[in-house]
Symmetry: C2
Subunit: 258 residues, 2 copies
């Protein structure tokens, strides 16, 4: 490491609020959040950063993803004294991480930057592979469902979700958050051949909310649930009324917006 | 199995030339072609078909793919006496195959159908992930290269490959095919963000030809090789002149055309 990399500080360590953008393949993680046992995104990042900086590091994440759920743009932050520049730091972390997890960007943030509390919204994508047979090359990143599915009916139901409302119908059973009111900013369903993609942007999401919404939307797509019934489920805001929770592996956290 | 599934044959076994369309994730295969040891596409298919039909089955494939190379539309064929219908046969094979390999389609072909000799052309795709850092979700299906890469220069070089010519510059070392003359029908380079995709359709390809072409095209993209030098390499038709062979995992056999 040369002092040239430290920039204007002449090689002296400076206190940095490190802001990272992360991508990961969630298949082999027991979720994002550190646990007593099991490989997690937070745990791996804290291990890598600890090795790099030579001291224990506590990492904050913008949100929680379940085991099997992926990220293209998770945001993380930690504070450390370092003389490294952001690009060097990103490369050095990547050298200490497995190939299923990458730091895609690194920058210095304000000392008080908090990846979760400062987030304005999050963009999730949920992918379906709509076909008779599953597909080997998308099997880790799309939920295989057999058609037919009525895309127009699902789009109508999606429209009924946009806005600020009580999403209690789609909360995780046993969840203990104070309020289940959230604001869904955008919701669309795109199709590219047999790959169907829900895009959902919201101010925040309850645990399992996206997966429960997708599972219930599928009931609409299959004609088992009419639009009026769907609306009634949303209004009732009780978990028992909604459809099953879609599997974790179709879900990707695309971006956190600040 | 009910006799209704056998169709008009009233439940009697009929001699069938089975034509299959296959997709696979090549990561955990030692290539497509059966070998003394190692898990192969041909070997897995013969095992599954043998189990299903209760007799040894010899499978022909439309071509050979290397370990790590994928397929969306490989074609296979075998002959067997069966009372199953094509849809039931496809599902029954899939029930006996791992999740990284799927029969996507099954139909009856003429008794003399040969997936390799009858093929008019093949379409391959080679994907690059052009970015500073690798990407966890495309790491098995795209070659990570750092830019900058000159797309226009690579497109010009691609144009110099189209047509019937001696592709000896891109043949596998130690290859013993009689002639290295092949016809390249189409060649293009598409870009979607940082995912760059070569599409190459040809009457046939030498072993490792696509990978060697991509490796040499990258030399052009990096400015290490000028268009004139590239043309000279192609004309010389000697393997030593060309660039390195791109890794197997960026390559997908998309379709075999008959």
């Amino acid at each position: 490491m040369t002092t040239a990399m430290a920039g204007g500080a002449g090689g002296a360590d400076a206190l940095r609020r490190v802001r990272l953008t992360l991508a990961y393949d969630g298949t082999d993680f027991a979720g994002s959040q550190r646990q007593a046992s099991g490989r997690t995104v937070q745990g791996e990042l804290e291990r890598a950063a600890g090795e790099l900086h030579g001291e224990p590091v506590s990492v904050l994440l913008a949100g929680r993803t379940d085991s099997g759920t992926h990220a293209l743009g998770m945001v993380a932050a930690y504070t450390v004294r370092t003389r490294l520049g952001p690009q060097v730091l990103a490369r050095a972390l990547n050298a200490r991480l497995g190939p299923d997890m990458r730091v895609l960007g690194c920058e210095w943030a304000a000392p008080e930057f908090h990846p979760r509390f400062d987030a304005r919204s999050k963009l999730y994508r949920y992918r379906l592979w709509v076909a008779e047979h599953s597909h080997p090359l998308v099997r880790r990143t799309a939920w295989h469902v057999r058609g037919p599915l009525d895309a127009s009916a699902m789009r109508e139901a999606l429209g009924a979700l946009v806005g600020e409302r009580d999403f209690g119908a789609f909360r995780s059973s046993g969840s203990e958050v104070r309020t289940s009111v959230r604001r869904l900013l955008r919701a669309r369903l795109g199709r590219r051949g047999r790959l169907w993609t829900f895009e959902l942007e919201g101010s925040g999401f309850l645990r399992h909310q996206v997966r429960a919404m997708v599972g219930t939307l599928l009931e609409v797509g299959r004609g088992r649930l009419q639009l009026e019934g769907f609306r009634a489920i949303v209004e009732a805001a009780r978990r028992e009324a909604a459809g099953p929770t879609a599997p974790a592996h179709g879900l990707v956290l695309v971006r956190v917006l600040y």
